[in-house]
Amino acid sequence: MIGILAQGGSGPVIPDFGGGGAGNSCVRDNGFFCWNWFQQNWSDTFQPRLIEHIELTVVALAIGFVISFAAALFAYRYKWFDFPFTTFSAFLYTIPSLALFQVLVGITGLTLATALIPLVTYTLLILFRNTLIGLQEVPDEVREAARGMGLTRRQILWRVELPLALPAILAGLQIAAVTVVSLATVAAFVYDHGLGSPIFDAINRGTFKTELIGAGGLAILLGIASYAFFAVIQRVATPWARYRRA
């Protein structure tokens, strides 16, 4: 039933658990984690997969952000746009990820687009809502003071409203990044890319533990790292937010 996985020929050497093969007793016995093997396969399996995963995440996040940001600015100006976009992105959000990947295979084939499109769609709701709410929660008196001091509409948006929405926007990016890292592993089911590939490989080859732990561990570390990355950005970019009253 996992037959579909067997695409892509760049996987690591198939270990032979029965003996011989790799000539490594740990691998032969499918030990819990064979550090040797992990090291040997770092440069041609794990490292490139990790980089692919990061690239996929960054690209999906960037596209999602551009779309959501533009949509949020539009909805901020024209309130009627909020409801349809929220409804649309919430609808996309509720589709099980695996299903969306599978459905897209029928349309865009086993390509990067099939992996990328669902990842982008899952960022839309969070990024759109957080940006819009961040803008809407700018206190009226701040907006009025800005107007009263003679800032133009554009100046108010870029100098006052968006900086004040930044914590909410960054919080959105943080959740979106973590979500994309997670779903990108699933994407490997339809497009041989990222850290999901060695995971599926390992399952296919009889749950090869070292590879599962290596790839799974890297994915977990990447998830936590992306969470921490945005936590740091938030702290550095919005020093004032620390003093905000509850």
Binding site: A145, R147, G148, G150, T238, W240
Partner: protein, 402 residues
Amino acid sequence: MTSLDTAHDEGPSARSGASGGTAAEIVFDSVTKRYAGQEQPAVDNLSLTIGAGEICMLVGPSGAGKTTALKLINRLIDFEEGDITIDGRGVRGENVTALRRGIGYVIQQTGLFPHMTIAANIATVPRLLRWDKQRIRARIDELLELVGLEPEYAKRYPAQLSGGQRQRVGLARALAADPPVMLMDEPFGALDPITRGRLQEEFLRLHARVSKTVVFVTHDIDEAIKMGDRVCVLRQGGRLAQYDPPDVLLARPVDEFVADFVGADRGLKRLSLRRVGDLHLLPAPSARAGEDGTAARARVAEVGYETLILVDDDGRPQGMIGRDSLNGPVNASDARSIGVFGRLDMPLRDALSVMLSQAGSHLVVVDDDGRLAGLVSADLISAELAGTDASARAFDADEVPT
């Protein structure tokens, strides 16, 4: 600089030439503002001239359109009927952002930008006007000093400041580009009474230094009387009820609405506007210890008093001695305590209160050096109120006690 030195006829406009700052005359000419879908206009045919350098207080019940009237000046609210001019130039003819950059704007919730430091907040308009960095930095230092904040506040964020401090920053930010006009919308309304009182007084002192034309909205009639050169009372529907200096407003409200609005205690309020030093004090019979008692007794009898004020060699009151004890040389051991002294900068209201609490008919007044200046009596106070109705004058910022 005692209050005695300030001539009664020194009008508010005399201050417009004070050092530092510019001021401009604001004229409302038959201004009417109607909101769509509302029957009653928010501001109804308002005509008003606010002299350059004056503080004009807009008061009235809610729904009287005072904030609306204020926001018409910097066109935060647009209007179609009538015109408002600042130094002769109609606000509707100006580019709206340029107009606003030339008008300081202070609001109750301060509207400070939470993401900017105090320095960056103050620098907002100078940056829009593309001042060079050095000039902006110098201006920030100057303004922090002016509003009474330590220079190290420059690097903090608004959330790190108390309410009163934030309002000071709001004031500094509005003053940054030295605008000739300041609009203040209940700036002290959210502060506790003690902070509010302090900021009111500091603002008056500051205004005496920088001289701006100030339009100040408040719902607090006491604040209006305390701060205003003139008070503009608006009634429901944005119609002008009375526009006069505070003392005139209190002495001669034009109708029942204004009388009600200023309150039944308006007589007492007028007492707050005047100070002991404004009165022609009654002469006080005094003597040093060791002086001839009989002569002193004669002096006391001459003005019809029962007691003599004992003073030291510098003329500072030490106590009082009953007329009957004045036999032989004046003896310090005969003196009784005087209690609380009046001071020249004491509002008449406070002087009266002291008199009532000491159950005496007179109050001994000392000058700034503590020397005997004279006596105040309740009669003197009521005569002052009655006598100056005709020549009621504006409260002068220079008289604020320090």
